[in-house]
Symmetry: C2
Subunit: 606 residues, 2 copies
């Protein structure tokens, strides 16, 4: 068993939930009425305990032993089996899911903060959990009563796993190009039963030994169905057939043809699955024919928010490893006292800068996911319809940001964590290099980051005639103005105002490019627009937190735990604005060149 390096302090998670977002609002909602703020704090403490005692210690085994493929079967490291047992014994994977089917019914925002802790402790492990419940949720929403009775409880309690089978060798980002086909099964009594035939690739958790069965959700085209995404249907394809009474029948014709060797998340199996090699694979149509894409998108949107959670978790853990190391490692005198004695490296300015990148960046990510999921709770449960709609619109426009930005920022920040540890960071004893390898997948799966940028500029920006975006811009502008006299954050509010102005101008220029037929400029700068937009969102959240912390500082002993935390928060807010938000200025300078050299160059010149 590897060493446990997971040592998260839960203070910031509680700050976000209890001091920043004001969870009381959620407690007034019908489904959450039996909870209290103290319950949530206790749940976070419990999650930290599981992270430290169970998930964290299994991190390095997952990486070093990894998954093994043996004749169609995948063997996971023993340490992961123990994680699986503990997670499900306590109902963690289904924390936010329907209690009627074995879930715990917690608010999304609490589930997200728990998820950030768990993914920070062991991201590879959590893929099994996330797919299982995400999958179940789709069956809950779109299945028949019979489907729900057959599958749900087992998928909310860790008995059966789940997968999303979208990608094929020639259908990755272009899902509509899939070739997997479905034909009504002439031998079946139930007209919803189809024969499935096709090959799916890069299927996360496609085969493993953590559960007695795996319920694949497979996108396939019913023979004769429309081309492209409009003719895609969704099927429940159990690894082992499930009888109408919920008992398991014969093995289904699903074969794992191999697993991938990857940069990271070695503990999570990435499989090629052959469906119907022997012509005997059966699946159950979920919902109407040809409605698969929309359904899959519900799960996909959830998974996209999950990418932000995963990135926040990994980055925060890299920060923890780096800050603890930097306090212990003594090396050299700082430049400002160059003839002095050797000091812990946390006292060297550049180390401090990198740690602040990590601190401010990971806190901003945490605030972002919590804010988004808080809105998701409001969107589902607020009694006021206008509030619900407004919150949902906000979730929609921010989802591509939370999918794309934290993974890329996290990749950069974990680079800093490796750098803080120096040679030790490049070696595998500490897991910082592992976090760096694990996190890279997040910018690729669940729709590449470019797909997110296109979703943002092609769909979300224009939602409700652009009103959602404009309201957000106005809100940020107003916020920056309202606080421009604050003694702590004067400079920061000014920077935020300027940055938001650039983001707004970006959007306006995009509209112009569409009109002027200079459309290539939009996708050429879409990724950078997304990054700029995200940075203003995160800066605003950090400033909100900084203002709260600044206000509380006068009421506590600065040397107390709370005093130190609030001082740290004020510093994080400033640092984020003055050192990360400023990236907007560089990208905006690029945009103004309206550079299309990348398109003008002949393809043969690459």
């Amino acid at each position: 068993m590897g060493v446990n390096y997971f040592r998260r302090d839960g203070r910031d998670s509680k700050f976000v939930l209890l001091e920043h977002l004001g969870v009381e609002r959620l407690l007034g909602y019908e489904p959450y009425r039996d909870f209290s703020a103290e319950d949530f704090a206790m749940i976070l403490d419990e999650a930290l305990k599981v992270g430290k005692e169970v998930l964290g210690p299994a991190l390095q085994d997952g990486d070093r032993i990894g998954c093994a493929y043996e004749g169609g079967k995948v063997v996971t490291p023993d340490a992961l089996k123990e994680c699986w047992r503990v997670l499900n014994e306590n109902g963690w994977p289904s924390a936010t899911y329907n209690p009627e089917f074995g879930g715990q019914g917690l608010p999304e925002v609490v589930g997200g903060l728990v998820g950030e802790i768990f993914n920070g402790a062991n991201m590879a492990m959590m893929t099994y959990a996330g797919l299982m419940v995400g999958n179940g949720h789709l069956i809950e929403d779109f299945g028949t009563d019979q489907d729900r009775a057959m599958f749900l409880e087992k998928m909310y309690t860790g008995v059966w796993g789940g997968t999303m089978c979208l990608t094929e060798p020639d259908a990755g980002s272009d899902v509509g190009a899939l070739r997997t086909k479905a034909i009504p099964d002439p031998e079946a009594d139930d007209p919803r039963i189809y024969k499935i035939e096709g090959v799916k690739r890069f299927i996360t958790c496609g085969e493993h030994d953590l559960t007695e069965n795996i319920i694949h959700l497979v996108l396939a085209r019913i023979e004769g169905g429309p081309a492209g995404t409009k003719g895609v249907s969704l099927f429940i394809v159990p690894k082992i057939w499930v009888n109408p009474d919920g008992s398991m029948g014969e093995p289904n014709d699903v074969f794992c043809a191999g697993i991938e060797h990857k940069m990271g998340i070695h503990g999570s199996s990435t499989c090629t699955l052959n469906f119907g090699e022997q012509g005997k694979c059966r699946g159950i149509l979920l919902g109407e024919p040809h409605s698969g894409m929309a359904k899959m998108f519900q799960m996909m949107n959830h998974a996209r928010i999950g990418c932000g959670i995963q990135a926040a978790g990994a980055t925060a853990s890299a920060y923890d490893t780096a800050r603890i190391y930097a306090k212990e490692r003594v090396q050299g005198a700082p430049l400002s006292d160059r003839h002095g004695a050797a000091v812990p490296i946390i006292q060297h300015e550049d180390v401090r800068r990198m740690l602040m990148n990590l601190k401010a960046g990971s806190e901003a990510m945490r605030a972002f996911i919590a804010y988004l999921l808080f809105n998701s709770d409001v969107a589902k449960h607020d009694p006021d319809e206008a509030e619900r709609q407004k919150a949902q619109a906000r979730v929609d426009i921010l989802t591509p940001l939370v999918k794309a930005y934290p993974p890329d920022l996290g990749y950069m920040l974990i680079r800093d964590a490796i750098q803080v540890l120096g040679g030790a960071g490049y070696c595998s004893d500490f897991p910082v290099e592992q976090y760096g390898r694990d996190i890279k997948i997040l910018s690729i799966w669940e729709g590449t980051n470019y797909i997110q940028a296109l979703d943002l500029v092609g769909r979300k920006l224009g939602a409700q005639g652009g009103k959602v975006f404009q309201e957000w811009v106005m809100e940020l502008m107003a916020f920056a103005q309202a606080n421009e006299a604050d003694q702590d954050f004067q400079a920061d509010c000014k920077l935020l105002g300027q940055a938001v102005g650039m983001v707004a101008d970006f959007a306006q220029r995009f509209a112009g490019y569409f009109k002027q037929g200079r459309i290539s400029l939009v996708p050429m700068f879409a990724t950078r627009f997304l990054e700029c937009f995200a940075e203003t969102v995160l800066a605003k959240l950090m400033l909100e937190q900084g203002l709260i912390a600044g206000g509380k500082l006068g009421t506590v002993d600065p040397a107390s735990a709370d005093g130190l935390f609030y001082q740290g928060k004020v510093a994080s807010a400033k640092f984020f604005c003055r050192n990360i938000l400023t990236n907007v200025f560089g990208r905006y300078a690029s945009l103004k060149t309206e550079d299309l050299s990348a398109m003008e160059i002949p393809e043969e010149a690459f």
Copy 2:
């Protein structure tokens, strides 16, 4: 044996050497008089062949099999042994070294371009070669005739390997804190022979089976010597003792206590070496006592330029893998033709953007290392002393940049290469994720990037009373002005002028901070200053190349190989200025905030 993915096109290397820098100047120098420009082109072609046929095919074995530790010995993968044989059979490692001792006497700039090819094909492999000859060169410069006769030829021809033994468990960046000690050996006839005792860590190529002997260069303190770096001496410590006649004697008391498991460069052994465990380790003092640091710095400066070469190589190879993949992989329609047919992904705007990042970035790095090494040749051999001094001053000020900037830029660019390949990029079949893991070490070893930034702002910036830096700034300003009417590069010259102004202001502010006692601001922004400075240097080189290519475009068929290359070069120059150089604007916005939040936060708040 793994698949060979090394498919470098040598066109750009030849462009840099023959069309951009004007290698004719070097041909006039005494030591290079027997070479011709055609010779150099042929040498590059030969190097490409070795890369494709020998080094490239061994890349994945080096990574997957890696080095194995067995009871004090390190076993390298067989594929590397074959590389070693071919490299040395053809004298590649000593290409630029003294022909008197078995070297080939090529100009540094040619050696650098060959090195970029070889490191792009197999960076881990090349560590063995680089240390061997770098080590030999130190003995050549500072050893006695006897030392040279005993060691040199074998170290220039691949018979004996070499290492630099600086780092200790408690002396990393702070070399002067080392504890390894040296005591005159009472039993030796030669007063230069000392007993050595200590532990060295992170010793690259510290033990392996590629050569019959390994000549360690060890920093140690002669007992009673001054504290810190002023009391450090350098010793030749052979793994197997070498008799005065050059024959090998008894094994020396040097034990490899283990190797590190690392993020990348698995084919390069990283060792802990125990010297004198049994009190019997002997070493030969190289040069005067207490003069070790200065000597080691000569090698270190060479190795620092090597980091740039390694980064350029890995990045260019990631670019090659990505561009070839992007031309072959068909997926989806581009946004500008969204209802059209699926196209090779190189036609998608964001993929194109990422490929241009890689193309422009790796070309700029190549231009940079070639420019620097060209100056190194001038500094050594130009008949005019003023020219030699000017060139050396330029090499000195640019060395921290070439060490630090390409590794960090490369890390970012290889991230893009992984992203271009999508899921396939995250898997290990293609080596892009390996390049991403291999390259990270470069920002750490040979003095971390922060040490480079401190060297730049603390030493190099003030060289000759700041004259070297000021002249460089003036030269860039003049260049930007002289070309501001160019029809291709008008916008780019304007950007360059602005960016250089920011860099100059940065430097001026630093001088002010020193005077005002606000010294922490200097190290806080030193890394970013280095990055800004480097980007202006690279932008100028790219614009020089772009202007040359633009001029030649009128004289060739645009559809010819040359025509396509020149069009590509014009695009690279534009793209670099408009999309990478613009980072200066973001960092400068940060500098203007003079943010010290990272220092103001209490240490306990981390």
